[in-house]
């Protein structure tokens, strides 16, 4: 049962990163791909009506985490205290800048919110990358079964680590590039005109950078957690995400070289699914790895709630996911099609 809920939780988090990832990536690129006010409104309209829906997947993932692994959620969230609050602040600023930016047609008002929008999305990308880096590297869990981490210590990836060190920072840079590439691929699909052209150019460049960084981070990971690769080799289930990753990377490559915007975007989603799936499959069953000694690590088995609780939740949870995926398809249909820059500049 714990295995299943670990998989379901990873599914929720992956949904969130894929969906909100394109908002975050497009947002981080906002100032780079859109130069005029009309272009900037176009970028925001491309992600506009759905940001809160995407963000709610994280909330639902948080609820699922608490439901299935209450002890792990408690230890992890308290341990990452300041980092999580930075995520929350960035979310608040991102949401406000989308919602209030367009309301007033004034140059200063809009440039201020455009800046807040870009900065908060960039920060979100860096923070989620750092979070992933921390989960892979591990946290300083001790014999009390808890940890409390400074933002930084000596920047080494062993022992009493901080949230930032050479490894988590490089994962953060890689993840930021990946989300930016994802966002650019989305904007290429979703827009026309100059924003489309710039996004296409950027997508080609940033995907290359992301691919190089992927190799770098993969080698680094072998230094920090060599056992992960061994786990991956011995688990056939971990091969599936690898296959997804390879196929998706091919789709991105061909989609970007040719003119198949949909293929490139589907590939982009697939790359994220493959990466996160591969990481999850090789990390399992450890959810929080201890850098102070693997005997302190917390696993999905030790952190799960009762078998009964997991079983009961399995009655209603699939219903909820089916409903949510139905909304997903309805909403995607409603908002299908490209966003065009409008001729009028009067605001609404």
């Amino acid at each position: 049962m714990a295995e299943l809920w670990f998989a379901l939780l990873c599914f929720m988090l992956t949904m969130f990163i894929v969906l909100d990832g394109w908002d975050i990536g497009a947002g981080a690129l906002h100032l780079a791909v859109a130069k005029t006010d009309a272009e900037r409104r176009q970028v925001i309209a491309a992600i506009g009506p759905l940001w809160s829906w995407h963000e709610v997947w994280l909330l639902a993932a948080g609820g699922t985490f608490l439901l299935a692994f209450p002890r792990l959620m408690a230890v992890a969230f308290a341990g990452f205290y300041l980092a999580l609050w930075m995520v929350l602040w960035s979310f608040i600023l991102r949401g406000i800048s989308i919602e209030v930016g367009g309301h007033i047609n004034d140059t200063l008002w809009r440039s201020a919110w455009d800046f807040v929008f870009t900065a908060s999305n960039l920060l979100l990308a860096i923070l989620f990358g750092t979070a992933l880096g921390n989960v892979i590297r591990g946290v300083p869990l001790d014999e009390t079964g808890r940890f409390s981490m400074s933002l930084f210590t000596d920047f080494r990836a062993t022992g009493r680590v901080g949230i930032l060190d050479w490894y988590t920072l490089s994962v953060a840079v890689f993840a930021t590039m990946l989300l930016v590439a994802h966002g650019a691929t989305y904007l290429r699909l979703k827009t026309v005109g100059p924003v489309h052209e710039r996004s296409e150019r950027l997508a080609r460049q940033v995907w290359l950078i992301a691919a190089v960084l992927f190799v770098v981070v993969s080698i680094e990971t072998d230094f920090v957690r060599p056992e992960l690769y061994q786990a991956m080799l011995t688990r056939p289930l971990a091969w599936l995400p690898v296959v997804v990753l390879v196929v998706a990377a091919w789709a991105v490559w061909t989609g970007l070289r040719g003119n198949d915007e949909k293929r490139a975007f589907a590939g982009s989603c697939g790359v994220i699914v493959g990466l996160l799936g591969g990481a999850a499959a090789s990390l399992f069953p450890v959810v929080l790895h201890s850098t102070l000694g693997s005997e302190h690590s917390l696993t999905a088995y030790t952190g799960a709630t009762s078998e009964r609780g997991l079983r009961v939740a399995l009655i209603w949870w699939p219903v909820a996911v089916v409903l949510a995926l139905t909304y997903f398809f309805v909403i995607m249909r409603i908002y299908a099609g490209k966003v065009r820059p409008a001729q009028d500049t009067q605001g609404y």
């Binding site: 829906w53 990452f80 909820a320």
Partner: protein, 455 residues
Amino acid sequence: MDDAAFWHRLQFAFTVTYHYLFPQLTMGLAWFLVFWKWRALRTGDERYATAARFWARIFGLNFAVGVVTGIPMEFQFGTNWAGFSAYAGGVIGQTLAMEGMFAFLLESGFVGVLVWGERRLGPRLHFLAALGVALGSWLSGYFILVTNAFMQHPVGHATDASGALVIADLPSYLLNEWALIQFAHNQAAALVTGTFVITAVGAFYALRGDHIEQARMYLRHGTAVGLVAAILVAFPTGDAQAKIVARHQEPALAAMEGRFETGPRADITLIGQPNVRERRLDNPIRVPGMLSFLAYGTFHADVRGLDAFPEDTWPPNIEPLYYAFHVMAGLGTIFIGLMLLANLQRLRGHLESGRPLLWVFMLAFPFPFIANTAGWMTTELGRQPWLVYGLFRTNQGFSAVVSSGDVLFTLIGMAGLYFVLGLLYLYLVGREVAHGPGGAESTSPYGESVEAPVG
């Protein structure tokens, strides 16, 4: 109590109080939107469509602030209340996850469509979007109230080998008697907020002589629903709530009423100041026997005072609890009176022309927010010193690894951010109200970029 516990409590109290200012209006307006959309669909009357569009814009702003202030709430269970999450997460996680999965994904998915998608969807689907949003927002309220009800009156749980709570009986947890009563009480109160806001905007336009047709509609619909909702808040829901508190949280009831001594024929205090050191009420004005009647149904019933309970089960903040309860009950009574008066005027056909009453309604809209906040303070202060009533104390629940300094840092940050957010919200809603109903429907919230060709 140790300092860290204080700051954790203050931060949660602040963020949740601030957050709930928004959902109460969302839930209060949601069914009005459904009703107006439905009338517009059935009659083809443009006035209803105009009203729905205008209020959907305000709804959208309100919803956005509700989302951004709501996400920190979910996280705080883990960041600030790790002890509580580890202890009770196996139970309350069920409803928190349900809230996200069933309610919030529905509500947030369709709110954008509701506000900006009228042309894209056509009237029928657009009505369905309004229905989805209303359903989502009320469902969300229910799951949160089940979670709270478990903290007030735990049912359906068991204890596992490590001492943590796990779910034993999901249906009885979901249908907790406390949750049903609290939901009815809370939703009626949210409707009161919605009706007072709608009536205030109607009064504002009526006094200015602007948008007369719309003003008349807001005044009529607002006061008609408002009267029903205001009465429902007091009876039967408020009454049932008081009785269930009397049954399961006796020390809370005693503290709410500032009752220090046990005895029959308990009075209710209309006004007075609790003096906890001397254990008495100063300057009380009382209605004899009324508390016995309200709590137990007869004027002779014995109502136990705080002296009947060990001091470590008393709510630690008796004074704010006492005032919160009295502010809520007093305002609730005034709301019924005001709405009665408005409905009498409506029947006589004087509602839109009686300027003094319009002035009162224009200025009255903050008070339901105050009453709702006071109501929640009553519930939550009355629950103390327990986090899960009778099982788990508040000072066991906070995150032990997080220092007071860290909490104060984030509390200060949130206070600053929420201050700015409040200013922006008031300014933008003020702008919508000043701009008024009417004009073409909006197709994009994000400035002039129009999505897809529009006819």
